[in-house]
């Protein structure tokens, strides 16, 4: 980049996270609140890297029990069968429902793994002050932020099955501990994406690249 771009920070302005109003950084009130919506102002999301790392690592840890432990147990005519996330996809595949199997596989397995990998990649690239394709990294961030909620499908399937199939010894479905861990993965990756500040990608661009 030839000329130095004028960012809000360079102009002494702070953008409100919530209502997107620009506030004068030098004329902040005693509490540093947005003049329009009253939310606390920060030039960058507070402790962005530390919070995002903490939540991403939490999700990584929870990812193991989420996939190993049963998410639900199906009790049918005396026999009980435990289902994990992956065996649920397999059951759909065996039943010939491959479009739905693909959808659940994408939402429950591909999306969480991709989200974790992208978050770790973004965090490392910001910490290494990378100058590599900032625009593409920002787009990647926006994608991660939008797609995460679709992983909740499996939790909802469990909630509906548990509500409907309660016919005593004949057929009963109960939730399993894996579901709690899986819900934890979805929530912590969503919070991690919310805590990350994509402007950190661009802050690194304004400083000259450090040569090792």
């Amino acid at each position: 980049m030839m000329e130095v771009p004028s960012t809000a920070t360079a102009l002494g302005l702070i953008l409100c996270h919530d209502c997107k109003r620009l506030n004068d950084a030098r004329n902040l009130g005693a509490h540093g609140l947005c003049v329009r919506c009253g939310s606390r102002l920060h030039a960058r999301k507070p402790e962005s890297l530390a919070r995002t790392w903490a939540l991403t690592l939490t999700a990584c840890l929870l990812y193991v029990p989420a996939n190993v432990l049963p998410v639900m147990t199906v009790l049918m005519t005396g026999r009980s069968e435990a289902d994990t996330i992956l065996s649920g996809v397999k059951a759909l595949l065996i039943g010939g429902m491959w479009p739905l199997a693909l959808l659940v596989f994408f939402a429950s397995i591909t999306v969480p793994v991709l989200k974790l990998l992208v978050l770790i990649f973004l965090l490392l690239s910001v910490q290494m002050k990378s100058h590599w394709r900032p625009r593409e990294r920002t787009v990647l961030y926006r994608l991660t932020e939008t797609i995460g909620r679709w992983s909740m499908i499996d939790i909802f399937v469990i909630a509906i099955l548990v509500a409907l199939v309660q016919v005593g010894a004949l057929a009963t479905i109960t939730a399993g501990p894996g579901a709690v861990a899986f819900g934890g993965v979805v929530v912590s990756t969503m919070l991690a994406a919310i805590s990350f500040d994509p402007r950190l990608i661009w802050d690194a661009m304004e400083k000259p690249h450090e040569v090792d």
Binding site: C37, R149, I153, F156, V167, G183, W202
Partner: protein
């Protein structure tokens, strides 16, 4: 219709230094890369994107507040229907089981999974309902040229809760659950399933019709 904006703001005068709040009013900053732009003049339907990172900066809407209010009122009605009538009916071995969203939350809670019960309650009932009511609480008075107490706070929370209202994801969950139960029992859709499908469409339409920028300006100017 997308016009990438160029960063044409001159750097502040090294001498004078201070930028007044007035000037901040006529500027716009990109939430994703912090670049500052002069406020563009857009006609409804046009979109302003950041020239550097591609984020959507402004998107004025062609419809007025009344349009969003009508959509939100319809959503509210469909929300009530979706939560009072049965979603699915399951027939198994001569017995009928009726399921609604709250039945699932109850069953999870009864089995000791209060964490998931709360999560499902939050993302399928609390967050969507709060968002629908907030639109009405903020826009109805604005339409009459008034502003209710705490409107800015409520509208802020509506934005914060946006990713946590997951009705459309829940709909997909219903679909998968129906298929899974297909060879186990007979499934009949309940009234709520149809109203729920409508709810998703109307909630998406309400979100798409909201002109956040215009609403914030109105909230700031004291209606």
């Amino acid at each position: 219709m997308m016009s990438p904006l160029a960063n044409k703001t001159p750097p502040p005068d090294a001498g004078s230094g201070t930028l007044l709040q007035e000037q901040a009013h006529s500027l716009l900053a990109c939430p994703d890369c912090d670049l500052v732009f002069p406020l563009p003049c857009l006609s409804p339907g046009e979109k302003a994107r950041c020239g550097r990172c591609g984020a959507v900066l402004m998107e004025p809407k062609s419809h007025g507040f009344d349009y969003s209010i009508a959509l939100a009122l319809t959503s509210l009605l469909l929300f009530v229907l979706s939560n009072t009538f049965p979603l699915l009916k399951l027939q198994i071995a001569g017995r009928e089981q009726i399921g609604a969203i709250m039945t699932g939350v109850h069953a999870l809670y009864d089995q000791g999974f209060w964490e998931i019960a709360f999560l499902v309650l939050l993302v399928t009932i609390i967050a969507p309902l709060f968002r629908i009511i907030s639109v009405l609480y903020v826009l109805l008075p604005l339409w009459f040229g008034r502003r209710l107490l705490g409107a800015a706070h409520i509208f802020r929370w509506m934005e914060i809760l946006r990713p946590w209202a997951m009705s459309e994801v829940f709909m997909l969950g219903i679909l998968v659950a129906m298929v899974k139960l297909g060879d186990l029992a007979t499934i009949q859709p309940g009234v709520a399933l149809y109203s729920f499908a409508g709810l998703i469409l109307f909630m998406a339409a309400t979100d798409a019709s909201l002109d956040d920028g215009a609403i914030w300006v109105r909230l700031e100017d004291g209606a």
